[in-house]
Structures are given as C-alpha cells and as structure tokens.
C-alpha cells in the first residue's frame, strides 16, 4: 500500500516505523491544501518496488513502496495542492487518505517541503 517506512540509518540500526515518528510540539500538522514539492536537497533513486529517497541535508533515507507514490512525490511541485496532485496522478479517491498519511510522514522527515509559490 501507499505508505512509507522510514529508515533513518539502515546501515546502523535505528529504523522507526512510519507510525512512530514524533512530531515536535512547534510543528503544525501536515496541511494538504498547501502547495508542496519534493525537497531541493532530496534525491529519488528508482527501485523495482518504487524508490529510495535520500535527503543530503539530514542524511535520512526513506523508501517509497509503490510506483504511484513515486509519481505523486515527483508531481507535487506542479500542482497547487495535494488533492489536485492525486487527481492528476489518477489516484483513486478511496486511496487519497492513505496517500495524505504517507505524504505527512515524508513532510516530517523533510523529504517534501512547502513551496512558497503556488
């Protein structure tokens, strides 16, 4: 399914599951109505199951476990908000909540970032 399993340091042990990520108190919850984009310091490496995501700044590693989710992350920057991105990528309406959850996880690890221009 379209979720992400965060792996901060697979070489070295700490692999918090997606649900275990703690949100700092001063951080606002993920807002899908805002414009988002793949972070500038993030690289996507294609893999048979989806993609490996690497953040050169915080050196976190994540995995996108489905090709549609990869397409969504790449397309975020071209659309004004998350719902329109999901529609453009032909994600079935019923799966939108799961994708929003996955993107929220990616925003917490700074793999995607808010975009200033709409």
């Amino acid at each position: 399914m379209a979720d992400t399993a965060l792996v901060t340091d697979p070489a070295a042990g700490t692999t918090p599951a997606a649900g275990e990520v703690t949100i700092p108190a001063d951080e606002l919850p993920f807002d899908p109505s805002l414009p988002w984009q793949k972070s500038a310091s993030v690289a996507l490496r294609p893999e048979p199951f989806g993609a490996l995501v690497y953040h050169f700044g915080n050196r976190k590693l994540s995995f996108l476990k489905s090709q549609p989710l990869v397409a969504v992350v790449k397309a975020l920057g071209d659309h004004p908000d998350v719902p329109s991105t999901l529609r453009a990528c032909d994600v079935p309406e019923a799966q939108h909540p799961a994708y929003v959850t996955a993107l929220a996880t990616l925003s917490r690890s700074q793999m995607i970032e808010k975009r200033s221009t709409p």
């Binding site: 070489a11 700490t14 692999t15 690289a43 490496r45 893999e47 048979p48 490996l52």
Partner: protein
C-alpha cells in the same frame, strides 16, 4: 563460481508488502556499500575481519578509485562505509574523501585513529557529509589492547579527544562485542557520552583472522541474552549496523533491518577491486566480480550470478521450519560459512541453541573454509596483541635478553 548456496527456486518479486520482503529480492544499487581502500594497517588486531596488515601491490590506483566514485554517483549510492586495513594510511585518502563528497557520495570511515591529529580533526569537523568511526574493542586499555595491540587504546582516545576538541559532530565509537568486553557496555556508553560521540556496537564474525579467535572471543549464550536486554533498553541511542538481528529470535524484534543483506542491499569492494557479497565474506565462494572488469561495479552488482542467487529468498533448510525464522531469517551467512555450518541451517550463535547443537555435530574431520586472501603482517608488529600469547622472537644475540646472559658470575 562454486555453488555454495542452498538451492532456491527463482521467485518473482512480490508487489507491495513489507519492505524487508522487497529487500530480499535485492535493489538496483546497494544501500550500504563497504569499500576497503587498503589492506595496509599499522595494527594487527587478533580478530581482523579482512586479515589486513600488508598493502596489496594490486590495490586500486587513485584514478581507478575516482572511477569507482564516479560510478557510485551515477548509481546514486549516497554514501559508502570506508574501511580497510587502515584507510587513512593510504597517501591519497584525504583526496579521495574530498573527491567522494564532491560527487554526492558521503563517506563514513572507520579508523583506529592513527592519523587523526588535531589538524586532521579540525579538517574533518569543517567537512560536511563525512562521518568518522573510531574502533575500540575495550572500554579499558587492558581489555582493548589485548585484542587490538599495546598502545591502540591510547591512540583511539587521543583521536577521540582531538575530534571532540575540534567540535566534530556525531562521530562514533565502534565496538566489536566480544566475550571480554561484553560486560563493559555501560562503560562504553559512558566513555562515548563523555566525548559527545555516539556508540556503535557490532557483532564479532569468524571472518579473516576472526576465525582463529572466534571460539575464544565470541560472546557466551548468557552474554548474548544480556546484550539483547541491553539493546532493548538502550537501542534508541546506540547504532548496531543491524548486525545483531540473530538476537531477535529471543523474542521482540530489534530495531533495524532484520535480514542478511549480503548481495541484496550491501556488498564489499575490497582494495584490489574485488566485489564480495558482504564485508564478512572475503572468500572466493562469495566473490561476485571485479570493478576493473568491463561494465564496472554496476554490472557486477546487477548481473552477477552469485548475487542473483542471493536475491532468492530461502525456502528450504532446517531453519525455515523453526517458529523464530521470521525473526532471525537464519542469521548470518558468513558466520555459518566460516564455522563450517550449512548455509540453510542455524547460525552458530542461534539463540535458540540450535547453533551449538550444529557446531557439536560437525564432522570431527571437518576443516572449516579458509579465505585465500591473507595480508597479515609476516613479521612481528609493534605492540602486537597479547591475546594469542606474547610473540616469541628469538633474540638475535644472547645479550639482547640480558646483559648478564651467559656470564659466569661466580
């Protein structure tokens, strides 16, 4: 290629599912690549996984090493674990470090600290995208030096002081857990914390010279149980390289990748460019190819028959019938191989006790596999480890022993 792996039916990669199941089928490029830059080392640690000591004349040249880095950049291998030997004794080490970082390949390197003077520590502290691990196998000089050699504790501590003083962030103290230091985990944590560093502990494998001391040094079952409890209590702040996944069969899974990543998500490039399935498997049976061959590293990683075999999940063997198979997945391939156990059977340190039984049931005539790669120092080394007894070097002249030797003092 000698067929060493248990027969496995080529299987189709599943869609979706757990990430660990995807990893079993391999990745387009490794996540975690170990690159040993040289077999040369100033030390002669009793348990050296790569039997290092002397430089190999066929080691990759600077230009060839740069070529490998270019390839890693193209394959999007975002960081490499550099080791040896002692990587910093390569004269071009600092150049290759800068070259890798300049090509989006981060470097985490392991060192005994011999070259980390104040100047180098300051240089590292200024460099982004580099991680340093100082090897230390005892929280006290007595325990450390017995295995790593006299003076090696002092060298490591000086390096740690220099890094801390230079303001280096997130450097690591890297410990191989042995029977002799297993009781020092809290002391290691305190020592590491005192430098503002992070503790990393990994498993002793019977690889390289480690095979010679494994019987004597590998943790006892009681120590493994204590280690498991300690990891559950302290796991968040301690790195393990996911090397203790065999302990997960005690019950609760440890954080990390509980899977043998050999040839699937990890591999080793050795100093002469040979590519092995994992850093603990320097043996011709696990040799997949060489980066100097046409197509380079990418072709080896993506097309070697050995790696294709490793990317089929194990379906047979005694372990698959065990209720704990999902937790430990049969343990460490290298540990089994170098203790002469079948690869589809239990790990020699299987926490359910099947390993001990398997070790006891080995044929008395069995000669455990030996690597043909050995760069150990041939002569005596300054501060040689005392674990295997003091080196016996016959004195050249009888008066070297004692100025009064041979004199009739009556």
């Amino acid at each position: 290629m000698t067929a060493v792996l248990p027969p496995r039916a080529p299987a189709q990669r599943p869609t979706g599912g757990k990430l660990i199941d995807q990893f079993e089928y391999g990745l387009d490029a490794p996540i975690c690549l170990t690159w040993e830059l040289t077999y040369a080392c100033n030390l002669a640690c009793a348990h050296c996984l790569s039997s290092s000591g002397r430089r190999d004349p066929r080691e990759l040249s600077t230009a060839e090493a740069e070529g490998v880095i270019d390839e890693l950049q193209r394959m999007q291998v975002f960081y490499v674990n550099v080791g040896g030997g002692e990587p910093t004794v390569r004269p071009d080490f600092w150049h290759l470090l800068d070259y890798a970082i300049g090509h989006d390949v981060g470097v985490k390197f392991s060192t005994n600290g011999v070259k980390l003077n104040k100047q180098r520590a300051a240089q590292l502290a200024r460099t982004d995208y580099v991680d340093v691990q100082i090897s230390l196998d005892g929280a006290t000089a007595a325990v450390n030096d017995r295995v790593r050699g006299t003076g090696s504790y002092a060298t490591a501590i000086t390096a740690l002081e220099n890094l801390a003083e230079a303001g280096m962030n997130d450097f690591k103290v890297s410990v191989v857990v042995t029977r002799e230091n297993a009781g020092q985990l809290d002391a290691f944590k305190e020592l590491t914390d005192s430098f503002g560093a992070q503790l990393r502990i990994t498993r002793l494998r019977p690889s390289g010279r480690g095979a010679d001391v494994w019987d004597e040094l590998h943790p006892t079952m009681a120590q493994q149980k204590d280690l498991y409890q300690w990891l559950l209590a302290n796991g968040d702040g301690v790195l393990t390289g996911d090397s203790f996944f065999h302990l997960s069969a005690f019950g609760e899974a440890l954080p990390g990748l509980n899977l043998c990543g050999a040839g699937r998500v990890v591999c080793l490039i050795d100093p002469v460019g040979d590519v092995y399935a994992c850093p603990f498997a320097i043996h011709e049976n696990f040799l997949a190819g060489n980066v100097r061959s046409p197509g380079g590293f990418q072709t080896v990683w993506q097309q070697s028959e050995l790696f294709a075999d490793l990317r089929n999940p194990q379906t047979g063997g005694a372990c698959t019938k065990c209720q704990h198979f999902d937790s430990c997945r049969g343990g460490c391939m290298a540990a089994k191989f170098f203790t002469g156990l079948p690869l589809d059977g239990p790990d020699p340190e299987c926490v359910q006790g099947y390993g001990e039984t398997a070790l006891a049931a080995r044929d008395l005539e069995l000669i455990t596999p030996k690597s043909h790669i050995d760069h150990s120092h041939k002569g005596p080394v300054r501060g040689q480890p005392t674990l295997l007894g003091m080196p016996s070097i016959p004195p050249a002249k009888i008066c070297d022993e004692s100025p009064l030797a041979g004199m009739d003092l009556r």
